[in-house]
Amino acid sequence: MNVPKDLKYTKEHEWIRVEGDEAIVGVTDFAQSELGEIVYVEVETVGEELDKDEVFGTVEAVKTTSDMFMPISGEVLAFNEELDEDGEDNPAAINDDPYGTGWIVKIKISDPDELNDLLSADEYGELIS
């Protein structure tokens, strides 16, 4: 299972990549593998300020539905248009490339200290092993 070293993780299987005062959030390789084929991603929180652990969106796989949670507090700045039903509509990008083209939202970081509470790649790798 792919767990890139440069990312931080949550116990709920989201990853976060910090880029200055913003960050990119997605779901992990392990999560996409457990969910199976993803058929739809719904994010209706763009523009909203959400707390850490609040639901920012929902993933529909053929077999199951799963909410996605904010790894840290922040404003949801953007949703990956590639996954959007009005766009190219390719939610399978999450299955194919969960850390790349399958990213889900961009957020503005409210409190950088919260990043310290997240799991390192090693810790997350241990959690899913």
Partner: protein, 366 residues
């Protein structure tokens, strides 16, 4: 956790395994959608060895089967199968099953009852507790393996490894004979997909060679190994009930739309008085099919509301339909609202999904 005789083959094929009915079962090999469409368009092969098989024989075998099951087993003849259920004393459903009428033994009818894997222990206790007849029951589940070969190419594939004439066999019939060079194999025109095909019952040590022969014969027909994931999406597109979701100890066969397997005229059977009473009084809720125009998928347990946001039911099964490309579901809905075309709403967390009640099956074979 138990393993079926095909366990190693599933691992070699890269299956993702999951615990189901006490067995490690293959849920998916390459992808649910791909496997689903293989069954609809070519052929797929499922290991369903977790299913349970009970044999019934003896002077009063028919009387026992008639007492336990809702359908009329007196209508069966050797080689004929019927879908049925075990009602409980309250008129709910202990399990749904297939009743196979085997050849006579010692001058009396013999039967094979095929039950859900997850219910083997419960059913075995139930049939024995209610055996007040001169009938002998044998549980052969642990010695019996089962493959479901399903799809429009299933007849071509199976025909190439058996001298049995299987291609023209009508639905819900069976034959015994040689398959892949092995004798006494039971082949039935049954399945749980709506795409036609066969179920093949064999002893544990026979099933591996049959699986291999079918895989080889099926290669040029596009046969794929298919897992429990696509088995569920295939059955749901047809509106076939799943025990534990759509039918339970608390649901009546009448509410579930299974009146056609409930033959009250055949005489008394377990639960028949309660079923008759409900039929006369009229049901208050009904297992109902619906589609969702939203992209969100209904799931087991989601509440169903009317336009005034009053709860009128609950989802029992839901999925994204691989054939249709949109979400579908089944649920028990208050009879006053269970009208085709009626708009209802499914609660998915904070969200209300707009649904339309529709007819079954969701998927119609071309």
């Amino acid at each position: 956790m138990k393993k079926t005789p095909l366990y190693e083959k599933h691992l070699a094929l890269g299956a993702k395994m999951t615990p189901f009915a006490g067995f490690e079962m293959p849920v998916v090999y390459t992808g649910i959608t791909e496997e689903h469409l293989a069954v609809r368009n070519q052929a797929g092969m499922f290991d369903v060895s977790h299913m349970g098989e009970f044999l019934v024989k003896g002077k009063e075998s028919l009387e026992l089967v008639q007492h336990l099951t809702s359908n009329d087993a007196a209508k069966l003849f050797p080689g004929r199968i019927q879908y049925s259920c075990f009602p409980n004393e309250r008129g709910g459903i202990i399990d749904d099953l297939l009743v196979y009428r085997l050849a006579d033994e010692d001058g009396s009818p013999a039967f094979m009852l095929v039950v859900n894997g997850a219910n083997i222990e419960k059913d075995w206790a139930w049939v024995n507790a209610n055996n007040k007849f001169d009938a002998e029951l044998t549980n052969v589940s642990d010695q019996t393996a089962l493959i479901a070969l399903q799809g429009p190419k299933a007849g071509d594939i199976l025909s190439s490894i058996t001298p049995l004439e299987v291609a023209e066999m009508p639905y819900y019939h069976f034959k015994k004979g040689e398959v892949a060079g092995l004798s006494n194999i039971l082949v039935s025109t049954t399945g749980y997909t709506g795409s036609g095909g066969f179920e093949i019952y064999a002893a544990n040590d026979q099933i591996g060679p049959i699986w291999d022969a079918l895989m080889e014969a099926g290669e040029k027909h596009g046969l794929k190994p298919t897992g429990l994931g696509s088995r569920d999406t295939l059955r749901l597109e047809m509106g076939f009930c799943l025990f534990g979701n759509d039918i339970t100890d608390e649901t009546s066969p009448i509410e579930a739309g299974l009146g056609w397997i409930t033959k009250l005229k055949k005489g008394d059977f377990i639960g028949s008085d309660k079923i008759k009473e409900l039929k006369e009084k009229g049901i208050k809720r009904k297992l109902t099919a619906f589609t969702i125009s939203d992209r969100r998928v209904p799931r087991h347990g989601y509440p169903i509301y009317n336009e005034s946001e009053e709860k009128i039911g609950e989802v029992t099964s839901g999925t994204q339909s691989p054939s249709l490309g949109h979400p579908i579901g089944l649920g028990y809905i208050d009879i006053d609202y269970a009208i085709e075309g009626n708009p209802v709403f499914v609660g998915a967390g904070r969200k209300m999904l707009k649904a339309q009640i529709c007819k079954l099956p969701f998927y119609k074979n071309a």
